[in-house]
């Protein structure tokens, strides 16, 4: 029997495959199903501070619009303390799920203000989250904001949340830092317990018929793992924080690649959205079978086996694939 266990942010997991944040976990029953299908941990869908604020503002607006204006209809909705917008629903699902499963549940938070990050992180801890994943999604549309300021913002959030909760905190990052390695180090110093590489933020598309901007997010594809492989391999063993790989996991092959690059855990979303929660079992079986066939004793054995630290020619990661690709581009048939 291969030992598939791993440690992620100090949490002992029975294997590295984590069901990542997705709309699937919005249904409380699905989290239990994920556990039954073999997930070693679940990252809940994201709590969007902005969305909560918008919903609260919308509720307040629509419940008050037109009121106290016309004598026959001084209000239009029943007034009850129960009608409110807030994180309660999220926290309720989190609480219910944490009561019904044995695997750790990591709450995901997408905030916009300092108050929001801290307030909701605390509530998540109280509701039974075993860890928190901060999904920092920030597009500096203001042309006067420097890269340094953006970086500082990330670090401030990390420190603030770390100071307010006692459970481990991971950061889900984008790859768009001038020096990701340095940032990773700084996150490490700021106390981050894990880095999740990388998120796929919503990039708008254009509808050329309606001439409107449309938000879109397609399911991930397998070739999206490459930039992640690169950075996981580069960071493995060089930072204290755990590393989780996210995006592009469609078969056990990607799981293996990520582990070899040095990921402590591997997260999957699109595969589950595409194939159903039961697909977790397929992934697990695939990983297990592959390791067994090749005589691995544990996941630990392969973890980081192809990281920058362990590859014979580490510079391959730095000048990296770029040159390789260019070289390959020259086919033998061209002169």
């Amino acid at each position: 029997m291969v030992d598939l266990s791993t440690t992620y942010m100090g949490m002992h997991l029975k294997h590295p495959i984590i069901a990542s944040a997705s709309p699937l976990s919005e249904q409380p029953g699905n989290i239990k199903r994920m556990e039954d299908a073999g997930a070693s941990a679940v990252v809940m869908f994201s709590l969007f501070e902005e969305q909560i604020k918008q919903e609260a503002a919308a509720l307040e607006h629509f419940m008050s619009v037109g009121t106290e204006s016309y004598a026959e209809a001084l209000s239009y909705f029943p007034s009850s303390e129960e009608f409110h917008a807030g994180p309660d629903r999220y926290l309720e699902i989190l609480y219910q799920a944490s009561q019904s499963v044995d695997i750790p549940i990591i709450a995901s938070l997408n905030g916009i203000t300092n108050e929001g990050w801290i307030e909701y992180a605390k509530k998540m801890e109280e509701a039974g989250a075993k860890g928190i994943e901060l999904n920092i999604y920030y597009i500096p549309g203001d042309l006067n904001v420097s890269g340094r300021e953006v970086e500082q913002r990330y670090l401030d959030i990390t420190r603030a949340v770390k100071a307010s909760v006692s459970i481990p905190v991971a950061l889900k990052l984008s790859a768009y830092f001038s020096s990701l390695g340095s940032m990773a180090k700084q996150f490490d110093d700021a106390g981050a317990d894990g880095l999740v590489l990388f998120n796929r933020f919503y990039q708008p598309d254009f509808d050329i018929e309606t001439m409107e901007v449309e938000p879109s997010l397609n399911l991930s594809s397998r070739n999206q793992i490459r930039i992640r492989l690169l950075w996981i391999a580069l960071l493995h063993g060089r930072i204290k924080a755990s590393i989780a790989a996210s995006t592009g996991v469609h078969t056990h092959m990607e799981v293996i690649k990520y582990l070899m690059a040095g990921a402590d855990a591997v997260m999957t979303t699109s595969a589950l959205l595409r194939n159903g929660i039961g697909y977790l079992t397929t992934l697990f079986d695939g990983l297990h079978g592959w390791l067994q066939e090749r005589g691995y004793e544990s996941v630990g054995q392969m973890k980081g086996s192809m990281s920058q630290k362990n590859v014979a020619d580490p510079t391959a990661f730095e000048r990296a694939n770029y040159i390789k690709i260019l070289e390959r581009y020259k086919t033998p048939y061209t002169t």
Binding site: I52, K53, E55, A56, A57, A58, L59, E60, F62, M63, S64, V65, G66, T67, E68, S69, Y70, A71, E72, A73, L74, S75, Y76, F77, P78, S79, S80, E81, E82, F83, H84, A85, G86, D88, R89, E92, E115, E119, T210, M211, E212, V213
Partner: protein, 1196 residues
């Protein structure tokens, strides 16, 4: 102050004060919403939802019925089976309960019903307060107990309940609608122990034991014959005889418990008065205040306040009447035309006459008695009027059967009064706030009242005057704070603080009218402190100088913007009030304001609280005192409310009402029978939106969509020959007509910018987009101010272009319909209303031969609420004739129109045939048999009538004269019965069903908002499964009634379900088919609504989603197809393409449950989805049947 330990003092309105008790001493509330009593039922429902218990530890059941008649029936049934049951109602609602009231009283049943007394609909409907409704039920046998203030409404509600159990007679406990029901005042709440002590469980158990039970069977409700009915009717006498003593003894018990003493007749005033004024209700408070003042002036006057009106206790009355009384004025807040006097007057006269004749009179001889009417429909009743009545009593020949408060220049009933007699005490802070409807001003003021009334020793009173318009409305808050209980039950006459929350109110109304000398004026102004003076109109400057007002200004919108509050300025203005008025120390006030904010918004999210705090914190640094010059310098004059070109009635009467001076109109100015000219909204340029649509002629494809959906008919299109442009103003825009063959024809889309409410529906439906700039359409919202003057000139010119010939317009397309003149325009409906586009379309298609019966509801308010009304006429003077009867009888009312039309048409036919030889057989033949389906055919018929008319006049016989009286019926009259879902699905359903069964040619249009919109969002049988509404706070658990399918079952009814936003072409088709169909037609029109909790700008899009989700399948059932052997059932929309929740969760009415109770929300939306799918399968199956599978249509 006589305060017992642990007394809880709150600031609540009369409705809450009464409902608080009613809820605690009852087991079952059956209600139906009606203004101004609706709040009582809603509170009961809210408390039940929250699980609050009555004094026996049970949560009362609250049931909303289909009508007040239904509520009375349910209460009667509950009482008959031993439960304690109540209801809350007013006005016509109470009238609908009358049949049950006789029964309940006749059966000696204890119950207390709480009535917020309101006017009855006579020459016009009124939602406001008087005693017409309760006086109409005084013969039912109900005991009538009257309260005059929120505290009394609270106390007497309990005294009534204690008394009814003992007396076994049912009680009407009433108080004045709005003046008491909606006045917020400081109320000492009765403790649970006090309530408990007043209610005898033994009496409750006896009542329960009298309930019907098969264990001890009895029969009630027998039919009795002449031999015994009379005697049996007299069996109840002793109960009526005992009741006054029972009520007084309960009042005495109450006084022992609480220290608050009441008597059946309470006397206040001079110990040896000569002149006494008698009345009941809120006016008594004003009389009491005035009597106290007049006593200080040495006048021997007094007030005899009536609490128990019926049974009228002669003994108690004579005991209460001071023996020194020489004259009494008896005031009734009702009118009983033809009676020798109004009800209270009648009872007093009878009682004193009997006492005189029987030698029981305690006064020295018979006092001089005069009776008068006051305060109808919440007409102000002020100390000046009270004084005028007392003064009248001084005269040797005082006027009897007088009126006070109006100028009756026709029958000269009115007493003169000195409006300058104002006795508002100096130690009372009297603040008036002029706010924009729904801007939060009222809410913030209610918070201020709570702060002062509940957290200080001051007494507080708040009263709010609302608008009759649903968009761009004004609210006026009247707040009083002082060291003594506040009994001024009239609007502030002398304000020492005026908050004007909109700069333009200074021009539109007269906020300074009631300013006391030296008062403070707080103005929300975009101008800085140095510029604001120069921007004021001259008249306003003059008043400020004359009265020596102190002026403060703040740019509250700027502060709100900076604090992230958008346009919510309420807390900012509230902070200013506290800072300037000095009611409380500034720091303490700010702390308390923040406390109130926290309380109000804490469950709306911390962000909203934070923003409000930020607004409060920023306020004071933006508040400036403005130096007031010694003289007025402005050259800006306030324009007259209507132009000089308006018709005389509009200038003389309508304009006065528009300017808020309707109180000054004498009786002679008003029509005697409630008949008013139409089309008056056109004269009221309300200018309520800063943003208006602006047409881009280059981008426009002239489709007509914007014009079609405009709820306020402000977007008009015309075609005209290019030569007409010669006289056009420079800024006038036009475009070549798109389409070939008309090279010299121009097209103009004109926006009536002054009438626009800025809803933006037009922009959303515009399909034409700029190729250069994303987001730019053929119509876009732009700031109005820069274009206003140009557009006014453009509109003036546009109006000179003749309307397009209806005979040449394609009525079958949206593109064509835009050229038809709307005869429904500029209504006061909500911005973006989902109902009015249908009415406008109706007026465009058939307006010049349209008669409308309109059920009470939103459409009767924006359609018929004075001062201005939107139904209008064309250049020939033809247009919709409109009338509202009641809420419940509209289908029957409209049927009556048809019966008249049919009768008169038949009369015309008969006489025409008789006179055919003289009139010309060919003409008569054509007149009687001409097709009148197309507009051109209608025009031809009108031409025939024009030809006929002189021939008839020339004949000059009895028969020809008779024909002339009915000649108009030869043009096919289009009769429409219009109302909302509350009418069609609930209260009027029986009548609607019956009318549909008769097959007469009427067209019924149901503007289905799926909720009672006009009374504020109560659930109806049209409310869909899962939606939250009042009385369905947990989400409606059952599905919407499928009225279409029910009526299709008749087989001969044309039925359509339409949604303009989803398929305007189908809407148009359905309207035209229904109108042409010679039998009965029913159109159910999806109408998005403010009560759905949506951004109204996207209302049409939401309609589309309603259809795409399958919630609102578009159908037509055309019996004529069945006659032709075809399938009459046409499914006009596609199979659902989105899930129900993708539509529903855009609306707060569904979403609010998702947070409050996610599991239940999931369950209900799942059930609703199943319903949609089932219904769709049924519709699909019906759509694929063959014709003979539907019932045959009897076309005979």
């Amino acid at each position: 102050m006589n305060r017992h330990a642990n007394q809880q003092v709150v600031t609540i309105d009369g409705n809450e004060a009464a409902a608080y008790i009613a809820y605690r001493v009852n087991e079952i509330c059956a209600i139906y919403p009606i203004t101004p009593s609706s709040t009582m039922g809603e509170l009961a429902d809210q408390w039940a939802t929250e699980g609050q218990e009555n004094i026996w530890g049970h949560v009362p059941l609250v049931v909303e019925m289909q009508s007040e008649g239904g509520a009375a029936g349910a209460v009667h049934g509950a009482l008959q089976t031993g439960a304690l049951s109540t209801t809350f109602t007013a006005s016509q609602g109470l009238l609908l309960m009358i049949p049950n009231m006789y029964k309940i009283a006749g059966e000696l049943t204890p119950a207390v019903w709480h009535v917020a007394a309101r006017s009855l609909a006579c020459q016009g409907l009124s939602i406001f307060g008087d005693h017409s409704d309760v006086m109409a039920v005084r013969s039912t046998g109900f005991v009538m107990l009257c309260s005059s203030s929120p505290q009394e409404a609270h106390d007497l509600a309990l005294i009534a309940q204690a008394s009814t159990l003992e007396a076994r007679l049912p009680f009407i406990h009433f108080f004045d609608g709005f003046r008491t029901s909606h006045e917020i005042n400081k109320v000492t709440l009765l403790a649970g122990t006090e309530i408990r002590a007043m209610i005898s469980d033994e009496l409750v158990h006896r009542h329960r034991a009298r309930g019907l039970s098969p264990d001890r069977p009895v029969i009630r409700g027998t039919a009795q014959n002449p031999d015994v009915y009379f005697q049996a009717r007299e069996t109840v006498n002793s109960f009526y005889a005992n009741t006054p003593h029972i009520v007084q003894s309960q009042m005495d018990r109450f006084a022992e418990l609480t220290g608050r003493r009441y008597r059946l007749f309470d006397y206040y005033g001079h110990p040896q008065p000569e002149r006494v004024l008698m009345l009941m209700g809120s006016g008594a408070e004003t009389v009491r205040e005035t009597v106290a003042f007049l006593q200080t002036q040495g006048e021997a006057v007094g007030l005899l306040q009536v609490h128990l009106f019926r049974p009228f206790s002669a003994t108690h009355f004579i005991e209460a009447l001071p023996p020194t009384t020489k004259s009494i004025a008896i005031l009734d807040r009702t009118k009983e035309p033809g009676a020798p006097g109004e009800p209270l007057y009648g009872d007093v006269v009878t009682t004193l006459a009997e006492a005189l004749s029987e030698g029981r009179l305690t006064t020295h001889g018979m006092p001089r008695l005069i009776g008068g009417r006051y305060g109808l429909s919440s007409k102000e009743f002020t100390p000046a009027m009270v004084k005028a009545v007392f003064d009248e009593l001084k005269k040797p020949q005082p006027k009897n059967h007088f009126t006070i408060g109006i100028d009756d220049d026709v029958t000269h009933t009115s007493l003169d009064y000195d409006a300058n007699f104002i006795i508002e005490p100096d130690n009372v802070v009297r603040a008036m706030f002029f706010g924009l409807g729904a801007d939060g001003t009222v809410g913030a003021n209610k918070n201020s009242i709570k702060i002062i009334g509940e957290e200080t020793d001051f007494y507080a009173q708040g009263f709010f005057v609302y608008d009759s318009k649903k968009s761009g409305s004004q609210t006026i808050s009247h707040l009083r704070f002082g060291p003594e209980p506040i009994r001024s039950t009239y609007l502030i006459q002398s304000a020492n603080f005026i908050g004007c929350h909109q700069f333009d109110f200074l021009e539109k109304s007269d906020p300074l009218k009631s300013a006391a000398p030296g008062a403070i004026l707080l103005l929300n102004s975009p101008e800085g402190p140095n510029d604001v003076w120069d921007k004021l109109p001259r008249r306003v400057q003059e008043v400020i100088v004359e009265k020596g007002l102190k002026l403060y200004s703040i740019d509250a919108y700027k502060v709100a913007r900076e604090a992230g509050m958008g346009r919510r300025i309420n807390t900012i203005m509230q902070t200013c009030f506290f800072a300037i008025s000095g009611v409380l120390p500034r720091d303490e006030a700010i702390k308390k304001i923040k406390g109130a904010i926290e309380k109000t918004y804490r469950n709306k999210g911390p962000d909203i609280v934070r923003k409000n705090f930020a607004a409060v914190d920023r306020t004071l640094s933006h508040l400036w005192e403005v130096e007031v010059p010694k003289v007025a310098s402005s050259t800006r004059e306030i324009p007259p409310p209507v132009p000089a070109t308006a018709p005389e009635f509009v200038r003389q009467v309508t304009a006065m009402m528009m300017a808020g001076r309707g109180d000054e109109l004498p009786v002679s100015a008003l029509p005697a029978d409630g008949t008013y000219p139409t089309g008056t909204t056109a004269w009221e340029k309300r200018n309520i939106s800063q943003f208006v649509p602006v047409w881009e002629s280059e981008i426009c494809i002239q489709c007509g969509n914007c014009s079609l959906v405009c709820p306020h008919s402000v977007i008009r299109s015309k075609l005209f020959h290019e030569s007409q442009l010669e006289a056009a103003p420079a800024a006038f825009r036009s475009a070549p007509l798109s389409g070939r063959g008309f090279p010299e024809t121009r097209y103009t889309l004109q926006v009536y910018v002054e009438d626009c409410t800025g809803c933006g529906l037009c922009v959303e439906v515009c399909p034409a987009k700029s190729k250069e700039q994303s987001g730019m359409k053929a119509i876009n919202m732009r700031l109005k101010a820069p274009i206003l003057q140009d557009e006014k000139r453009n509109i003036d010119f546009f109006q000179t272009i003749p309307e397009n010939n209806r005979g040449r317009i394609d009525f079958g397309t949206v593109r064509g319909v835009q050229y038809l003149q709307p005869l429904f325009e500029f209504s006061g409906a909500c911005a973006g209303c989902g109902e009015t586009p249908y009415l406008k379309l109706l007026s465009q298609l058939f307006g010049d031969r349209l008669t409308i019966a309109n059920a009470t509801g939103c459409s009767s308010i924006y359609g018929g609420n004075l001062p201005t009304t939107p139904w209008s006429a064309n250049a020939d003077g033809r247009g919709p004739a409109w009338a509202n009867s009641l809420f419940e009888d509209n289908a029957e009312f409209g049927l009556g129109f048809r019966l008249s039309a049919d009768t008169h048409r038949a009369m015309a036919e008969k006489r025409l045939l008789e006179l055919s030889p003289q009139l010309g057989a060919e003409l008569v033949e054509e007149l009687l048999n001409a097709r009148q389906d197309e507009e051109s055919e209608i025009q031809e018929q009108r031409a025939r009538i024009d030809a006929l008319r002189p021939r008839l006049e020339a004949l000059n016989t009895e028969a020809s004269k008779e024909i002339l009286t009915v000649i108009e019926h030869l043009v096919r009259r289009s009769i429409w019965i219009i109302g909302g879902d509350g009418w069609a699905y609930d209260i009027g359903y029986g009548g609607l069903d019956h009318v549909l069964s008769l097959g007469r040619n009427v067209n019924i249009l149901v503007l289905d908002t799926e909720v009672y919109s006009n009374t504020g969002g109560q659930v109806s049988k049209a409310t869909p499964l899962g939606a939250v509404a009042k009385f369905a706070a947990g989400g409606k658990p059952v599905g919407k009634k499928d009225l279409a399918l029910q009526m299709i079952a008749y087989g001969n009814v044309y039925v359509a379900r339409v949604a303009m936003g989803a398929n305007p072409q189908q809407t148009l088709l359905a309207f035209r088919e229904a109108e042409r169909y010679p039998g009965t037609s029913l159109i159910l029109a999806y109408s998005h609504c403010i009560a759905h909790g949506i951004n109204m700008q996207y209302g049409m899009h939401q309609q589309k989603l309603a259809v795409e989700s399958g919630h609102w399948p578009l159908i037509r059932y055309n019996p004529e197809l069945r006659t032709a052997g075809k399938n009459p059932f046409l499914l006009d929309s596609h199979r659902p393409t989105i899930r129900l929740k993708d539509y529903a969760y855009n609306e707060i009415r569904y979403r609010m449950l998702v947070n409050a109770n996610p599991k239940e929300a999931d369950r209900l939306i799942h059930l609703a989805q199943q319903n949609v799918e089932l219904k769709w399968r049924l519709y699909e199956e019906m759509a694929t049947r063959s014709g003979p599978e539907f019932p045959p249509v009897d076309t005979h």
